[in-house]
Symmetry: C2
Subunit: 243 residues, 2 copies
């Protein structure tokens, strides 16, 4: 994306009352969780590569839905489909089926980055906090229960049945938690996502770098002065927002 292009709203960030969070990559380290659960099953699989393939595979299906090439389905459907192809590619059929079946649900058990729980605890004292994710409702609810995330509400692309970066997927955060766009700040580790949230519905933006989300080499996403806040992590975000 072009950098330095986000117009500022007239109202300052002192009007923000709710924070909406991207989840995969921003809140949870999906790759490390998949590797961790995978290594417990077999040490002869490149779980990091498998994790990246899994993510790219579901993202491809999300894009097909967005382009009208496929009917709406929840993320769990795509994750299951892609996993079927990974079983073949990575020769996972040597793993006992009962263990493989449990592993297939690892996206419901993704663990947060180390700064997330202490940061969210501080942020929640001052702001309504909620998810804004392409994950489906029960996936996000299971993850929240598993990792003791303390969301005030779970918002998902499943509600409008439209995936980010479509406008409707962001609009729900403004409608339910605003209702003015500048009352809601979107927190994400990906420029395409933050920029879409701002440009389509006018949310405030906070960027958090997660350079090793995909392993090495580090992501090309970077802080940008056009975002309202560039924070090092969730604890730094809390400090910058006066929590």
């Amino acid at each position: 994306m072009a950098t330095g292009t986000l117009p500022k709203n007239s109202a300052g960030i002192e009007n923000v009352r709710a924070l909406a969070f991207d989840v995969f990559g921003t809140v949870v380290d999906w790759r490390a969780t998949i590797i961790s659960e995978g290594v417990a099953l077999s040490e002869s699989v490149d779980w990091g590569s498998l994790a990246n393939d899994w993510m790219e595979g579901y993202r491809a299906q999300v894009e097909r839905v967005r382009k009208g090439e496929r009917l709406w389905a929840v993320l769990d459907v795509f994750l299951k489909e892609v996993f079927g192809s990974l079983v073949t590619k990575y020769h996972l059929d040597t793993i006992p089926p009962s263990q493989l079946s449990v592993f297939a649900g690892v996206w419901h058990r993704l663990k947060p980055w180390p700064d997330v729980l202490p940061g969210l605890a501080r942020l929640r004292r001052k702001f309504v906090i909620g998810t804004l994710s392409n994950g489906n409702m029960i996936l996000l609810v299971d993850m929240e229960r598993h990792s003791d995330l303390r969301w005030d509400c779970v918002l998902s692309a499943e509600l409008p049945t439209r995936y980010k970066p479509d406008k409707e997927a962001y609009q729900i955060a403004v409608d339910y938690l605003g209702p003015a766009p500048h009352q809601v700040m979107y927190v994400a580790a990906h420029q395409w996502d933050l920029t879409a949230g701002h440009k389509t519905v006018g949310m405030r933006t906070a960027y958090i770098p997660r350079p090793f989300e995909l392993g090495a080499p580090p992501s090309s996403d970077a802080p940008d002065p056009s975002y309202d806040i560039n924070a090092k992590d969730f604890e730094d975000l809390a400090s910058q927002l006066g929590c």
Copy 2:
């Protein structure tokens, strides 16, 4: 409603994985909260009568929406409209405007019945727990934050923009938390609501009596063997569900 008329599904309640809760009356004692905040403002107002009028007033608007006589609007809109008429009827204009303005938002601060927090803590260990309310999202979120309710997710009539007892208002609990109807149990203090949740989308049913929700005389709602569970309160519900 006719009693003893709910057909049982073939699957037993051992398949239930999520509990959806009606909120006004079932989880929170809206009338006592309104009286409590009201008495602090003035001792010369019949706050119990005002509370009942407020509830009946918003319910009338919900029914107008359901009958197609009025366009969809969130509950906060109706609560504000009705409050305007209550200011006149109960001569609240002697109360300072700043205090009256705070009081008008009392529905965002409703307090739970005494059994609710300990009961929900036990139930949440085993089940996904969420709201299923005609209240709008931010109203439910504010209430959850104010009373430390620990919902796994907040589901509201605002999501499908359809009010209970319309089918669509119940369907979201099954879609997001099931997906099979018998995997979701609806917990409510009102027969009309429980019966609609079961008949329209097939949810399991748990009845909790709140006989003095409206003050005296006690409500005519009563336990019924056709419900899957009749519990004394949330703690008893937890015991009956093995929590």
